[in-house]
Amino acid sequence: MIQDLRLILGLSLTLVVVTVAALAIGSASIPFDDVILALCGQGDPSIVAIIQEIRLPRVLVGGLMGAALALSGAALQGLLRNPLADPGVIGISSSAAFGAVAALFLGFAGLSIWVLPMSAIAAALLATILLSILAGRDASILTLILAGVALSSFATAMTSLLINLSPNPFAMSEIVLWLLGSLNNRSMLDLLIAFPFVLCGVILLSTVGRGLDALTLGEDTAATLGVDLRSLRRRVVFGVAFCVGASVAVAGAVGFIGLIIPHIIRPFVAHGPSRVLLPSALAGAILVIVADLAIRTIPAAQELKLGVVTAVIGAPFFFHLLIKTRRAMR
């Protein structure tokens, strides 16, 4: 447990360092002292504007999203006892994206700023429930992945349909670019929209640790250890839906964070399903902030989209995990 505290402390410090670095580095480099001053609203007004209105929201939204996605992945993997259960891989993210696109397409998104995230969360919830039904009680890796593929294809097909039907090319390109997943031009309002939902999700997921530990021994034994499986399942499903739905609503579909991070963290916490949760959230935030920083600073004709970068790195990683898991299952 001391070891866990050390890991959490180390990750927290890294997160602070990375956050400050992400604020300082960019098209205009800003010295450390000025960053701190600008955060307090002091110093050169143009620097204050860059830090407070452009870089800070972007870093905070990225960190929040990374933490939410990695935590969701870790919790889902604990519930399904399957290291491949990532909200992106098994179609929860794409369902949430469909919910958001539907809200945009039908014009409801204009009614209130809350409609888009609510719609994304509702779709994520539906997808997660559907998935746990499809995957059944004793979900083998294969069943789960296949159910996820089916769900993911359906959500993608429905999203494509909406894009296909979209009235003008401008709206179409807007939706497509948003779907790629990006932290570009995020404002404090985006943070404000996502935060309460992610908070709800995190609170729900912070209660599931013991249940996930007990599930190491399978559902029957977990039940005899005093775990209320129905309540546990419900808390994970809702927690994941809140986290993923809100993340997708403000930053588009960014995949594989929930797959990569818990996998990296697990050896450091002796593979304990509850012990992996908090460090994963911290590391997820670090990963997204660093990835976004890299995207901003790597010179390219077109700014790369965050979702594209995580997919390019994440998909081969998924292959690697799949091969490894398959070998272990034999």
């Binding site: 447990m1 006892r81 190491t216 021994l217 005899t224 005093g226 775990v227 002796a270 272990a328």
Partner: protein, 267 residues
């Protein structure tokens, strides 16, 4: 070995010590799994649940653990109906060692055994928890495996680690489903001795066994189940009579049932 045989009343006896199971009936879909199972498992005794494959032994255990939905019948433990216990209370009073040995994450043996303390609420920081975990690890003879990931162990080693997990709960009653199926002769004796000691310390032990000679040797009380119903219960030698063996198992005995037996040899 004394036999603490109680008369087979088939009525819920709320005064009794130990486990009292009365008229369990359960179906899965249209298929009837249990059609009237009644028996007692006295405190301080090892009770063997015997019967051929598909007799319903595992379902009886799962029913006693509250894992079978749509169950009729009354189960009382030390005078309290199980249905009246909260999930938490039940978890503290009943431990379960299921058949097979599925462990989903490569956690260490020590961490796995510590899961047995989950029903007691606190993380293993309390002295009581640490002592229970230590005692369970010693009893199941897995101290040398302590730091190893469970997924790297052999089937028999894993069974003993899971037994240690069940022991760590320190419950009033332990249900074990074919716990010795994968073990070598020495560890069969080790595990059965653990059950005997547990019973001697005042706990109730209910164990599903296929090795009838082992049942005769270690069980104080035996329950014979066939086609989802109790055939008879009583002292193992009486329960495993020639007539019952022929009727229930379709085998007949050559020689005496515990003629060949192993002892732990001195080092």
């Amino acid at each position: 070995m004394s036999n603490t045989h109680k008369p087979n009343t088939h009525k819920p006896n709320t005064q009794s010590d130990g486990l009292d199971v009365c008229d369990l009936r359960a179906s899965i879909g249209s298929r009837r799994i249990l059609s009237g199972v009644s028996f007692q498992a006295p405190t301080g005794a090892v009770t063997g649940l015997l019967g051929p494959n598909g007799a319903g032994k595992t379902t009886v255990l799962r029913a006693c653990l509250g894992l079978v939905p749509e169950l009729s019948g009354v189960i009382t433990l030390n005078g309290t109906a199980l249905a009246d216990l909260s999930i938490k209370d039940r978890a503290r009073r009943i431990a379960y060692l299921p058949q097979g040995s599925v462990v989903h994450w490569p956690i260490t043996v020590e961490n796995l055994v510590a899961l047995g303390r989950l029903p007691h609420g606190q993380r293993p920081a309390h002295l009581q928890d640490v002592m229970a975990i230590d005692a369970a690890i010693q009893a199941a003879d897995v101290a040398h495996l302590r730091e190893r990931p469970v997924t790297h162990l052999s089937g028999g080693e894993r069974t003993r680690v899971l037994l240690a997990r069940a022991l760590a709960t320190d419950a009033d009653i332990l249900f074990a489903d074919e716990p010795v199926a994968m073990l070598d002769p020495l560890h069969v004796l080790t595990v059965m001795d653990v059950f005997a000691k547990l019973a001697a310390s005042g706990k109730t032990v209910v164990v599903v066994l296929h090795d009838l000679a082992l049942a005769v040797r270690y069980c104080h009380h035996a329950v014979l189940i066939n086609n989802g119903a109790t055939v008879t219960e009583g002292p193992p030698m009486d329960v495993l009579s020639d007539v019952n063996l022929r009727q229930v198992y379709g085998v007949s005995l050559v020689g005496t049932i515990d003629a060949t037996r192993f002892e732990v040899s001195p080092p």
